[in-house]
């Protein structure tokens, strides 16, 4: 899938969509269409007016993508907003993640706050609580539905959680949990209904 050239943008710039090798953005950039590349690294601010397809995506700054994001490995330590779906073999997040569609990952580990409509995958690990002294701030992870084989949640608000094994740790507010094998819940996790299905 790698064809084309390396691009390094620092300062302010625009980039046409297309196929690249490695794209790295240090300043502020607009990518004006779909990009396909080996690696997309953003440490500044980037707006993609299309889809992203890459082997690796690494966001340290702020990045907003209008279409879908698809990569083998995605790491977010900054702020990533995706208007479409996000798919990865492995997704690691320590920043803020907002996805309007489905996040589909084999192995997902998120430590920051965010808003995601749907999460699905194999291992889903979300630890999104704030320190107690910051608890007056809005935060945590909110999702409409979360599905996975091995689901661990802390500080997560969700309407529906389905999984093989579900751990609902402190700070969770879950409307409904459906589990196949086991449900472990912390005393202060709020679960309105739970069913073994």
């Amino acid at each position: 899938m790698t064809s084309g050239r390396n691009v390094r943008l620092s300062g302010w710039g625009q980039l046409a969509g297309g196929a690249y090798e490695d794209v790295s953005i240090d300043g502020m950039a607009v990518i004006r269409g779909d990009v396909q590349c080996n690696q997309l690294a953003v440490s500044g601010k980037c707006h993609v007016r299309g889809r992203v397809r890459a082997e690796r995506v690494h966001i340290e700054g702020k990045c907003e993508v209008r279409g879908d994001v698809e990569a083998k490995h995605i790491t977010v330590s900054g702020w990533l907003t995706v208007n479409g779906n996000l798919a990865a073999d492995r997704l690691e997040g320590r920043g803020l993640l907002r996805v309007d569609g489905l996040v589909n990952a084999d192995d997902l580990e998120l430590h920051g706050p965010g808003r995601i409509r749907e999460i699905g995958g194999g291992r889903v690990y979300i630890a999104s609580e704030r320190p107690r002294w910051l608890s007056f701030l809005p935060g945590g992870m909110r999702a409409d539905s979360i599905e996975g084989d091995d689901v661990y949640l802390r500080g997560v608000t969700a309407r529906l959680v389905r999984g093989g094994v579900v751990h609902a740790d402190s700070g969770c507010r879950l409307d409904r949990v459906e589990y196949r094998h086991a449900l472990h819940r912390a005393p202060d996790a709020v679960i309105r209904e739970a069913e073994q299905a």
């Binding site: 589909n104 084999d106 995958g121 194999g122 291992r123 599905e147 084989d149 529906l160 093989g164 459906e178």
Partner: protein, 215 residues
Amino acid sequence: MDEDLISKKELLDLTGISYGQLYRWKRKRLIPEEWFIRRSTFTGQETFFPRDKILARIELIRNMKEDLSLDEIAHRVSPVPDVTLRLLDLEKHHIVTQATVQWCRQACQQEVLTFAEALALSVIDELIRNGAVAWPEADIIWQTLRRHYERFAERAATLVFVRKLGTSTCAIVAARQEGGADIEFEPDAHVVARVDLTAAAEALKLRVLEMGDAS
């Protein structure tokens, strides 16, 4: 609309696959996006699948999984394989006749074809051989399929070739259910040929895969 649907939960119970597998197969495009049908139920939004299609597909994936990687399976089940085919190979493996290959060289001046283009050639080949269309009309089919086939790949589709008072045209018609296109024309227009594109694409795909295995 009311084809037999199966809920995600029922599917997992019935087949014993896990959420992880289902999402992975979706991500690798082993299961087409169109099969994930969202409906609202009393518990909120729920995902359903066309029952027969999804069960057959999961069976297929399981059988192939033994000796093929997921990417290879995706390649096989994809309705429009992402391949480039050389005219030379199509001729060598008797997928289309020499006359059609020559027509393509002259009229389209292409040596390398996409899957949709190869499908167009195989349809042209068949219609020329059974005498339904003539060489000057081949270009209509070529243009129609290469431009629009991809959009119809997931659905049951038929190519309808019509002639009226010496002029000819063709169209791709998608059927909601299997069993051919439902379309009628004015009395003066004659439907010269109907080609089941789904079957034609399936046949071509098999032959292309055999070709790949042989070489």
